[in-house]
């Protein structure tokens, strides 16, 4: 027994699938990369300038080749994640924000490597976080090496699986080398990839040159890729739910094809952040009711293809219905109820992976306090995601018969044995992440928690010799990417 939000009927899933195939065959995708176009052409696609029209047979073959089970490895093997996720989805931080809401002053400013270090540490500390997105961009570094350092900082300060962005071929080659050092070689990295990547198509139906070429390199090394489609209904996608899903699904299948034809059997994570636009401003509207519905629909499409999936990407963090402000500061548990309900709903989309703790203002910015509050809300929302089992014991027919008509179950041994596991006993004011001893509003308590984490928690270090080798790779990578 498990709460799953479904949005599409079985025949609707088929209709969306057929529609996506038609988009790929008749409209095609724009592939500015000559190399990747060649890959498509060699395998049966039709090319017309930069447009690639992908036949149904190629897509079906790609679906056949894709693995259904994958491992997301971690520096600490105890933190490895097996996909499909079992009882609960695996949670991550938000990403990849250019700004941070300063922890002390609350001022919004460009984020730096120091900010990323703090978030990585907090992400390592919080049990709620299963894998880490480098949540903020280290803007203090030259743009061309930001992704390189994001992974390096993440590895050094966080022992969990890292899912980063990787948008050039060169960066991909260096990230692979960097991660290989930790596990002792590229073959080992293929078995337990310590990182995976997010590569976003640009809607409608375009896959950037450098990003697509990076995907080829990553696929060949066995690095799982989550090509996050970000279609926006009304602006970069049709203004209909069916059209949004058909297009998002088409983008996923096109990326799946790149991955499977670059390297048959390479791990791919079906990743959707399909949403609707605010039709007044054109901005992304993650607060819209359409968002969790699209998550559910995308989740169903992923399951249809038996692909590992990542379809719930935004924690409700700073959301109040009808409020466009990021000034939400929860005072009491009651204020958290909306967040809890929102998270409960969204993660019912049967997603293996989910984000986006710590996000503020639709992930334009990030906040350490918000990270703690989102984790707190999620621990309460978990109540809705538990799996329950039907068996002779839980059906309790003999107990029902024994109690009979009238009476009660309170003194039955069966009740005593099962209630703690099956009935949610956490009282509303009780907290999981926030220290029960701290006083004040939730916002203040979250701040206190962050202070405590940063003052007292040290993530396990990487072996000194390994770290030294990694630094040498970083130096070589910088010379290669930036030039001498």
């Amino acid at each position: 027994m498990r709460a799953i939000l479904t949005f599409l009927s079985d025949s609707e899933i088929e209709q969306i699938h057929e529609a996506s195939l038609r988009i790929l065959k008749e409209t095609g995708v724009k592939i500015p990369s000559e190399k990747v176009r060649k890959l498509f052409a060699e395998n049966g696609a039709e090319t017309d300038g930069e447009i690639v029209k992908i036949p149904q047979s190629m897509i079906e073959e790609a679906i056949r080749r894709a693995p259904h089970e994958i491992i997301l490895g971690a520096r600490d093997p105890k933190c490895d994640l097996k996909i499909p996720a079992d009882e609960f989805s695996f949670m991550s931080t938000s990403g990849f924000s250019p700004f941070v809401d300063d922890f002390e002053t609350g001022e919004r400013r460009y984020s730096t490597s120091s900010d990323l270090v703090n978030f990585a540490i907090a992400g390592d500390y919080l049990d709620t976080i299963d894998f880490f997105w480098p949540i903020v961009i280290p803007n203090d570094l030259p743009p061309a090496i930001q992704e390189l350092h994001s992974l390096f900082i993440s590895f050094r300060n966080n022992r969990k699986h890292i899912q980063c962005s990787c948008t050039t071929e060169k960066t991909a080659q260096w990230l692979i080398r960097l991660a290989s050092v930790i596990v002792g070689g590229e073959a080992e990295l293929r078995n337990r990839p310590l990182f995976s990547t997010i590569n976003c198509p640009v809607a409608p139906l375009t896959i950037e040159k450098d990003s697509s070429e990076a995907m080829v390199v990553l696929a060949k090394a066995g690095i799982p890729i989550a090509p996050m489609t970000m279609v926006l209904g009304g602006t970069s996608a049709p203004a209909t739910m069916a059209g949004i899903l058909a297009m998002a699904n088409a983008e996923e299948l096109a990326c799946l094809a790149i991955i499977q034809y670059a390297c048959p059997g390479a791990p791919m994570i079906y990743c959707s952040e399909a949403a609707t636009a605010n039709m007044r401003t054109g901005a992304i509207d993650y607060k819209a009711p359409e968002y969790p519905l699209l998550c559910a629909g995308a989740g169903q499409m992923a399951r249809f293809y038996k692909l590992p999936n990542f379809v719930a990407d935004i924690a409700p963090g700073d959301k109040i219905p009808g409020s466009a402000s990021s000034k939400y500061r929860p005072e009491t548990m009651k204020d958290m109820q909306y967040n809890i309900a929102s998270e409960a709903l969204m993660y019912m989309s049967r997603t293996d992976l989910a984000a986006s703790f710590g996000s503020v203002d639709e992930a334009i910015s990030a906040s350490l306090s918000q990270l703690v509050l989102d984790a707190e809300a999620y621990e309460h929302a978990r109540a809705y995601h538990r799996r329950f089992v039907i068996n002779d014991d839980t059906l309790a027919l003999d107990v029902i018969d024994e109690v009979g008509h009238g009476g009660h179950f309170l003194d039955m041994k069966h009740t005593l044995t099962h209630y703690k596991k099956e009935i949610w006993n956490k009282k509303l004011p009780q907290t999981f992440v926030l220290d029960p001893a701290t006083k004040g509003s939730f916002t203040e308590r979250a701040k206190a928690k962050v202070r405590d984490i940063l003052a007292t928690y040290k993530p396990p270090l990487i072996n000194e010799a390994v770290e030294e080798e990694m630094r040498q790779i970083i130096d070589a990578a910088e010379k290669d990417i930036l030039g001498d």
């Binding site: 919004r108 743009p143 061309a144 950037e208 009304g234 203004a239 636009a277 007044r280 401003t281």
Partner: protein, 209 residues
């Protein structure tokens, strides 16, 4: 109802083909080109702008109406005399070099047109040379640059510097998810706006100066 009123109403409804047909009809009726433009096309866009402000119209209505107006204007152009067109100013707009994200920029372009600006949209992945050449060619009042990515916003400063070096009159405005007012100040851009509606207000202010 007069032809000019019909033009106005069809601009409001975003009926592109109707507007084209009615503009031709108005020309055949020997209406003054200036009047067709002002009382038909511009008046229509003006009403649309008001309806957007008060929440009755949203982006699709704005964009479609703008399209209808532009198509009507294309047919009317050969008949317009110098000085007939009173634009709020000329804006060159494009996405920064390396950036192919262009929807936000497209919305800004539409809103600027709706506010009476003459907008030349250079599209995506536009390098400094192209921005500057277009600004010279069209005697632009404003160059607008959009960037989503932190890796592409760096080219904005290049445009600002080049514009100054070449002594162009154009003011440089920036926008996009990766930038803010502080960044605009840092690179000495003339303006920044967080969304399309405020971009129009800012553009108008820059023209006034």
């Amino acid at each position: 109802m007069s032809t000019l009123s019909k033009i106005r109403d069809n601009v409001i409804m975003g009926e592109v083909d109707e507007v084209k047909g009615l503009v031709k009809q108005a020309i055949d009726e020997k209406q003054k080109a200036k009047d067709i433009m002002r009382e038909g096309l511009i008046e229509g866009i003006h009403v649309v702008g008001n309806k957007y402000e008060n929440g009755e119209f949203f982006l699709p209505e704005m964009v479609i109406a703008s399209k209808a107006m532009k198509e009507g204007l294309k047919i009317l152009s050969p008949f317009l005399k110098q000085g007939d067109i009173e634009s709020s100013g000329t804006v060159i707009i494009g996405s920064a070099k390396g950036d192919i994200h262009d929807i936000g920029k497209g919305i800004v372009a539409t809103m600027l047109e709706g506010a009476g600006f003459n907008v030349i949209d250079l599209g995506e992945d536009v390098d400094t040379e192209t921005f500057v050449a277009a600004a010279k060619e069209h005697d632009a009042d404003i160059i607008g640059i959009s960037a989503l990515l932190t890796t592409t916003m760096v080219w904005m400063e290049d445009v600002v510097c080049t514009v100054k070096e070449e002594g162009l009159k154009a003011k440089v405005m920036i926008g996009g998810a990766s930038v803010n007012q502080k960044y605009a100040d840092q690179i000495k851009a003339d303006g920044y706006a967080p969304d399309a509606a405020s971009a129009v207000i800012k553009a108008k202010k820059l023209i006034e100066k």
